[in-house]
């Protein structure tokens, strides 16, 4: 990075550190923090989408769709995310390639499953074998994001479903009295009203999502945990910057990062919750004065 970094063996103190902390590997570590943000940005809309679809499926009058919605939300929530991540992304990957293979290589005669091997024709590979590594990385990242979205979408579906049911019946009855159809009531009354009820659950889900991101490395994405372990491990003289086991130091950096992220999120959601619940007939909305027994400080109110 810097000119004086050519011969790290003869450096010490400040110079050694400034070279050490700017190696290519460290730059990868720093960029991997953006991977966490990228994951959050990509998954949140997908989670909400899956959540909505799941909730709508659970509300559906068509029996198979309702059963599908119930199965999705309860099965996925019953399995620890870590176990889900250990086999679902590989299954997704193979499923996508299987479909592409059936579609693009219908003349292919050999079986796809050859013993233990899963082999599809070259043009069905996702991404193509000849693609650059960054395409493979990006594809792997999106598979991981999809896996996250499926898991957390089930939780979101449960929250949204609960929130739709929490809309006061009187409002729905009013809709009926106005002669609205079921669909109209759903779109015009239930959906806009449910946000206030869904927000505490969704904000809680966001906090859980943040804390699930260290599991990204299980999905083969080179995230902050991967690099922290890699950089912190003992480096023998074979490396340019030898050092002993520094993993604890690197993990404390991660700890601080996550605490910061949670802290910022809490502030944001507290503000949002107060805004949304203003005027609502819940305790958050009405408890203003306190009696001397309980100290209610508004900035600490949190619905979990």
């Amino acid at each position: 990075m810097f000119d004086f970094c050519i011969d790290p063996q003869n450096l010490d103190g400040f110079y050694w550190w400034s070279c050490y902390l700017t190696t290519g590997k460290h730059i990868s570590f720093y960029t991997s923090f953006f991977v966490v943000f990228a994951l959050l940005i990509v998954t949140v809309p997908l989670i909400l989408l899956f959540g909505f679809l799941g909730a709508i499926a659970r509300q559906s009058r068509i029996y198979p769709i309702r059963i599908f919605g119930i199965t999705y939300t309860s099965v996925v929530r019953g399995v620890p995310d870590i176990i889900f991540f250990l086999f679902v992304p590989i299954a997704l990957d193979q499923g996508i390639e299987y479909l592409r293979h059936k579609f693009k290589c219908s003349e292919w005669v050999e079986p796809i499953r050859q013993g233990n091997d899963f082999v599809v024709c070259q043009i069905a590979k996702m991404p193509m074998g000849s693609s650059d590594q960054w395409i493979h990385d990006t594809y792997g990242f999106f598979l991981a994001a999809l896996a996250f979205s499926i898991v957390f979408g089930a939780f979101a579906a449960n929250t949204i479903n609960g929130a739709i049911n929490a809309v006061p019946p009187a409002q729905i009855e009013t809709g009926v009295a106005y002669g609205m159809t079921r669909k109209q009531i759903f779109i015009r009354i239930q959906l806009p009203q449910m946000w206030a009820y869904a927000l505490p659950g969704l904000s809680n889900l966001w906090m859980i999502l943040i804390k699930a991101t260290p599991l990204l490395f299980l999905l083969g994405v080179q995230d902050i945990v991967y690099w922290a372990r890699e950089l912190g491990g003992t480096k023998t003289a074979r490396f340019t910057y030898p050092h002993s086991d520094w993993r604890l130091g690197y993990f404390i950096v991660l700890l601080v990062f996550y605490l910061f992220l949670s802290w910022v999120s809490e502030i944001f959601f507290n503000k949002l919750t107060l805004k949304v619940s203003k005027g609502q007939a819940t305790l958050n909305g009405t408890v203003g004065g306190t009696i001397d027994y309980i100290s209610v400080s508004d900035d600490e109110v949190r619905n979990s």
Partner: protein, 263 residues
């Protein structure tokens, strides 16, 4: 080998009973079901003990956070913030790395009635070390849930109690605590499920498995490694977790019914 034989050989393998060597070749479905099921003993052990002690600690910390006295409120708020604000995965790592730094000695505690030796070596073992992490973690999450519930106790209830001349202590015990439990129970059920699921992380992150005694995920990944096929052991362990999750929901729902009986 019949499946019954496998059951007697490996049914309690995760706690060191039965055949020592794990199956290495010709792994059957039965082997996988039995050993992964055996590993669930650990998951259930962690969940029950951590939830039991966590429940009481969480109640105390929730009331502390609600206290008007800063000396109670500030430390409990910081405790909750740190444990809830960081991933469990990283907590396991940091706590394990800290525990191994402790000198490996027995500390003699001279109590009035008896003398007990506390082995710090146990802290680096999953059965104690990981249990402490899970206990602290669930305490923090539950405390926040309980704290939120205390804040939502209808003021009218408390005012009515004060009007009846109940003391603060009586109000805590007879009004706030039961109401808090009722209000928090749905969220607390979720927390219990999350904690149970989190037990799968114990042997996967920092705590080592001794003598191949591990939890369900330890054996599932053992089989995934031996058979090179993730599509059998992981769905099996997923199935076990779903069954136990349903049991948790049933237990918590029946407690919920008791809590709401008078309503």
């Amino acid at each position: 080998m019949s499946c019954l034989q496998t059951l007697t050989d490996y049914g309690l393998r995760s706690i060191g009973q039965g055949v020592r060597g794990l199956p290495k070749s010709d792994i059957t479905l039965c082997d996988q079901f039995v050993l992964i099921g055996s590993g669930m003993i650990w998951n259930v052990y962690f969940a029950i003990i951590a939830l039991f002690f966590g429940f009481f600690a969480a109640t105390a910390i929730a009331f502390a956070k609600n206290s008007p006295q800063a000396i109670l409120r500030v430390p409990s708020s910081i405790f909750i913030f740190i444990l809830r604000g960081s991933p469990l995965f990283i907590q396991f790592f940091i706590v394990y790395e800290t525990f191994v730094l402790f000198p490996k000695i027995g500390i003699d505690l001279n109590l009035i009635f008896m003398e007990i030796t506390v082995e710090t070596r146990w802290l680096t073992r999953a059965w104690l070390g990981a249990l402490i992490v899970l206990f602290l973690n669930t305490t923090a999450y539950s405390a926040q849930i309980f704290y939120g519930a205390i804040q939502s106790v209808p003021l009218g209830d408390i005012e009515a109690a004060q009007a009846l001349g109940l003391t603060n202590k009586q109000i805590n015990k007879r009004i706030i605590w039961p109401t808090m439990l009722r209000l928090a129970w749905a969220s607390y059920t979720n927390e219990a499920i999350f904690l149970f699921h989190a037990t799968a992380l114990v042997f996967f992150s920092s705590f080592p498995a001794w003598q191949q005694k591990g939890d369900a995920l330890y054996y599932a990944s053992y089989f995934a490694d031996k058979t090179f096929n993730p599509f059998v052991p992981y769905p099996i362990i997923a199935m076990y977790f779903i069954i136990f999750t349903i049991i948790i929901i049933l237990i918590f729902n029946s407690i919920n019914k008791k809590l709401n009986k008078h309503l």
